[in-house]
């Protein structure tokens, strides 16, 4: 999974629409939608700062890290004997 964006949850909690948030943050609805759908490759600190300011939250409230599922493979680094 990696880094996931929980923007939709925060929008519901703050009772804010995507359109309004995009206007306040200063980015397009299309870009905000890309971010919300976890399709973005990167986010600028300035954008993250603006989101936290408008949603009155911390970066950790918007971004969460979820470890990717490990595949079983012989010879993987984690499988080496100590």
């Amino acid at each position: 999974m990696g880094i996931t964006v929980h923007l939709d949850l925060l929008l519901v909690m703050r009772k804010m629409k995507l359109v309004d948030l995009a206007e306040k943050v200063g980015i397009t609805i299309a870009n905000l939608s890309i971010l919300k759908q976890n399709k973005a490759r990167a986010i600028r600190f300035s954008t993250l700062e603006a989101l936290c300011r408008e949603l009155a939250c911390q970066p950790g409230d918007i971004l969460k890290y979820e470890p990717e599922a490990k595949t079983e493979s012989p010879g993987a680094v984690d499988d080496l004997p100590e």
Partner: protein, 216 residues
């Protein structure tokens, strides 16, 4: 150079390529017609396929040329002053070899023109770094390399054929090594490799652009 000037230059180049492409198609159509006529009747007088070469005859024949002969009855030879040898061949096998090589080379040339035109159209639209352009430039590079191989094989075959068929004062025409090297046109191969390298740059540029677009 501002945006408007850059794109108008691409537009002008695209127009030039359109004209070149149209002329080359017309020229190919006329050549195909002449080729068909010549294949049906090699002695019809519609022999437009000649081989011209300058050979340093003073290396082979001291003094002046006395007589040139052809071992192939369908081949007519004409020796001009300063050592120019003009050969008109009615040999169907030879003509077929020359024409397959020529039309393969011309087909690749047309492919390059088409790809270049589409590339310039994308530049004019303000979107040069896209996956299609990286693919187009790679196609152009490989087409140039293929054209080099075809042209080299064709030219060398023609040289070998001439060597076998033409004799001057009873001695077979012996192409000097320089003639063979001149048939290689290694600069075409070099340009093909350069274009392939540029396609790698465009592939990287496309990746960077996509990452930039998905950076919020």
């Amino acid at each position: 150079m501002d945006k408007a000037n850059r794109f108008s230059f691409a537009g002008i180049l695209k127009t030039v390529l359109d004209v070149v492409f149209a002329i080359s198609i017309l020229w190919l159509a006329l050549l195909l017609l002449a080729f068909l006529v010549t294949m049906i009747d090699p002695g019809s007088g519609a022999n437009v396929f000649t081989t011209s070469t300058v050979y340093p005859l003073w290396d082979l024949v001291p003094g002046h040329i006395l007589h040139a002969e052809s071992s192939d009855p369908t081949v007519k030879i004409n020796i001009r002053p300063l050592g120019w040898i003009l050969m008109k061949s009615g040999n169907r096998a030879y003509l077929l070899m020359i024409m397959i090589g020529f039309f393969s080379w011309a087909g690749l040339f047309s492919l390059v023109i088409l790809q270049l035109r589409r590339f310039l159209a994308s530049v004019e639209a303000g979107n040069p770094f896209c996956r299609e352009n990286a693919s187009r430039i790679r196609t152009i590079g490989w087409s140039i390399i293929a054209a080099f191989l075809i042209k080299t094989a064709n030219d060398l075959s023609a040289v070998i054929y001439m060597r076998r068929v033409i004799s001057i004062n009873g001695r077979h025409l012996f192409p000097p090594s320089g003639m063979i090297w001149e048939s290689l046109h290694l600069e075409i191969l070099f340009i093909g490799f350069v274009v392939l390298a540029i396609s790698g740059i465009f592939r990287l540029g496309t990746r960077l652009k996509e990452e930039q677009e998905l950076t919020i």
